[in-house]
């Protein structure tokens, strides 16, 4: 007797959820009159605010255009990411948007989509191989340039500045560095040091401390991401040089925005993940309508100052 009760409970629970969603889907299907497009967005980690904003952008733009949108979270596991893409292929979505955990495992997912003939649009990160229609990514180089120009405007000509980079080999952040270097040098700043801090806040702090030792006359620092910048801020404060060194970060995360507000960061180049999501959907729509789409679609970045 009790066995039956237990089994029924499990079945009721699962059936309930499934039916609820299932009927929900069915009813929304009957509402549509236009050709119902379905997009799938496989995102690496909805536990990260950045990706949540990107997903919000995707969902909003899809809704505005009357497209059904499926967002699947990989929860930092590349295997789950691959499974998600396979499920989207199974559902015969019209386009797949992908923000992979890393560019190598992302390639595998892209190839699976290629095999099924579904167009792929990569949002940020990039993939090392596989056919995608467009990479929608922040204009990292432009952002770096903006940072370089702004720093030059704050400092006298010939001032010494440092450049803290992300892990060696990471392509996109390196573009930020290139942009900064070009703009800063052109504006007359002297870059006296360039060190990686592996995108980590703690390491950023350590590296900054070492740089202050080696180059006591530094007037400014550009960090290729916000975490390292926030680490540099702490190192500067600990050395008692708060307010004397201009620090610029990159990403636009909430902590950095606050730091700019209270003057600890001179400025922050903010990415716009929401905008990236919107542009991703637009690119996919354009492609499906036969319009030409750029291989790389740049999402503008904003310079946040106080």
């Amino acid at each position: 007797m009790k066995k039956i009760v237990m089994v029924s409970m499990i079945l009721t629970l699962i059936s309930g959820l499934v039916f609820a969603k299932g009927w929900g889907n069915k009813s929304s299907k009957t509402k549509k009159n236009s050709s119902s497009l379905v997009f799938g967005y496989a995102v690496q980690d909805l536990g990260n605010q950045y990706w949540v904003k990107a997903a919000d952008g995707v969902k909003a733009q899809c809704k505005a255009k009357g497209i059904t949108c499926m967002v699947m979270n990989a929860n930092t596991d590349p295997a789950t990411e691959l499974s998600n893409v396979e499920n989207m292929i199974e559902k015969k979505v019209n386009a797949i948007l992908l923000s992979p955990w890393d560019s190598d495992s992302g390639a595998t997912a892209v190839k699976a989509a290629n095999k099924a003939g579904i167009p792929v649009f990569v949002l940020d990160i990039g993939v090392t191989s596989g056919d995608y229609v467009s990479l929608i990514i922040s204009d990292n180089k432009k952002g770096g340039e903006m940072a370089g120009e702004y720093m030059a405007s704050l400092l006298p000509s010939g001032a010494e500045v440092a450049h803290i980079t992300c892990q060696l080999g990471y392509v996109q952040p390196a573009l930020r560095g290139t942009g900064f270097t070009e703009a800063a040098t052109a504006a007359g700043l002297k870059i006296v040091a360039k060190q990686p801090a592996d995108s980590q806040r703690a390491m950023g702090m350590d590296v900054m401390q070492n740089l202050l030792q080696a180059h006591p006359d530094i007037a400014g620092v550009f960090c290729e991401n916000d975490e390292m910048a926030l680490g540099a801020v702490e190192a500067v404060a600990a050395a008692g040089k708060e307010g004397k060194i201009s620090i610029i970060g990159f990403d636009g995360n909430d902590d950095a925005a606050k730091a700019v507000q209270n003057g600890r960061l001179a400025a922050d180049v903010a990415q716009q993940p929401y905008q990236m999501g919107v542009m991703g959907v637009d690119a996919a729509c354009d492609y499906l309508q036969g319009k030409p789409v750029e291989k790389t679609t740049f999402v503008p970045v904003k310079l946040i100052k106080k």
Partner: protein, 316 residues
Amino acid sequence: MNNKFFNIGSKVKNLGALIVLFVMLMVLSIVSPVFLTVSNIRNVIVQVAVIAVIAEGTTFVCLTGGIDLSVGAVLGVAGVLAAGVMRNTGNTTLAVLTCLGVAVLFGICSGVLIAYGNVAPFVSTLGLMSIARGIAFIYTHGKPISNFPDSFRFMGAGDIGGVPVMIYIVIVSYAIMYIVQQKTPFGRITYAIGSNEEATRLTGIDTKKYKVIIYTVAGFLTGIASLMYVGRINSGHPNSGTGYELDAIAAVVIGGTSLSGGKGSVLGTIVGALIMGVIKNGLNLLNVDTYYQNVVIGTVIILAVLFDRNSKNTNK
């Protein structure tokens, strides 16, 4: 006869789980037209394959009343070390042996700590989990090692006659493990140790030695799972397998194996793994958020344990 039923019931307690799986399949096929297609079902099995193979080893461990929390991390470290060997030497055989060897080594360490060191399984395997994960990150500096030749990817991405190799591995390994559990002295001793270790020891069986072997077998299976994983995503990630140990335990528990040992079988575990896979796949197809999936799976686990305890009490 009453007694025969209880005997079967005590070893292969997946009757309830099988019913659940069946009904889920039927309901999902009605509600989602793409669910019951050959390619989707194939996807489901492929998607659970890695966890299913790990869970085989976990079944053995749980049958002795133990637990293994290190399998996820071992999957990771074995995978990245194999990936590294592959990248540095280009020798597939060496890389495969590295993967299996590392996993087996961790299994032996678990077994020895638990059987001879008398450290509780929870604690031993928790410690080894941290160590394994740490080694994986140290070796790779946090960066993945990717892009392997097809020979190395065979177990994860290859196929024979159109059917993914992973599916063959699942079927063959489960068949072997089922026979080992039910028909070999080794399997029988596993059940006996879980039921009453002292009485088993007093019949002249070296229970400590067998415990080490059991954890080593679980390690070997984790090594196989690791090769499948790395082959599938074509990348050795220090992070891989995070949380897989809990998924494996969930599959084992849903399948009816008791965590206190002595009762259950791998048959239940594959049903448990399939139930989890079907839930994830089905809810995915229906565009239900991942976090709802977690709630459902968590609830199923709890109900499965309650059901298990209930049927134990029906003896009175």
